[in-house]
Symmetry: C2
Subunit: 157 residues, 2 copies
């Protein structure tokens, strides 16, 4: 379906409403299928004690719950802001068809959110990131991947 401004207005409106209500940061998203909103999500990191509870992630979880599927092919997401790397990757994993957003990464950064820094970190090889990181026991993990490849009754995603 083509972009429809009403859904982006709704995502922005929701971001303000839930932020004012003390749910969390000023971010929200809605997911649309066949021209209708099928789910809404808003940032509830601080109220739910869940650092992964961003607007887009919550909207994705709610849409998948409603449709009883782990794939949102055929749906679009409207977000009040450019997604952080966590939410962007979640949008890919959910197989959403399109992303429409309003505020920019720079707008989020100016309001105190780390999105720009996170994009820089995610783009680096792991040994150059600020996060202390170490790899070990690789062959032990490879054995599990081999078992997955050989598993006859697996559900791919």
């Amino acid at each position: 379906m083509p972009y429809s401004e009403q859904f982006l207005h709704e995502a922005i409106r929701l971001s303000g409403e839930k932020m004012e209500a003390g749910e969390g940061g000023p971010f929200a998203a809605v997911i649309v299928k066949n021209g209708k909103i099928i789910s809404k999500g808003w940032n509830c990191v601080t109220s739910e004690n869940d650092p992964t509870a961003h607007g887009e992630v919550m909207a994705i979880r709610n849409a998948c719950h409603a449709l009883e599927t782990f794939s949102l092919e055929g749906c679009e997401i409207y977000s009040s802001c450019e997604p952080c790397p966590m939410c962007l990757a979640a949008i890919y994993w959910a197989r959403l068809d399109a992303l429409y957003f309003a505020g920019s990464m720079a707008d989020a950064a100016a309001a105190g959110f780390d999105d720009r820094f996170l994009y820089e970190e995610v783009s680096k090889p792991w040994n150059l990131r600020t996060l202390k990181t170490r790899q070990a026991l690789q062959s032990e993990a490879q054995a599990v991947f081999k078992a997955w490849i050989a598993k006859p009754d697996k559900t791919a995603y």
Copy 2:
């Protein structure tokens, strides 16, 4: 706390156990605080119909629930595999002190998982990604950010 091999063994063991049980893909993680495991998580994307239910995300959610906080400062995460961009950004948002992992992004890719492609996409400006993306109504979103900045009783994260 320094790296301790026992926890990485446990993350890998769990990834195999839950994959064989049909929970989802072959990935798991544990979170450690003061030398003790405080949470475990495993991929349950297909069994829970949640594309965000990766091992690291689930371990983070479970740890935050157990500790009743949205910050895991002072904790480390041990993952059976190098995190995808969603999980890596979640690790930063959760303020974890360190990441220890076993399998590589290449190992995951060889088993059919999109991690490498996702890292490439996340590293691009939004207008160069394969995901159909469009920005609109930026000033409307900026007004919400201004309200956030001015909000006297906000909880920062």
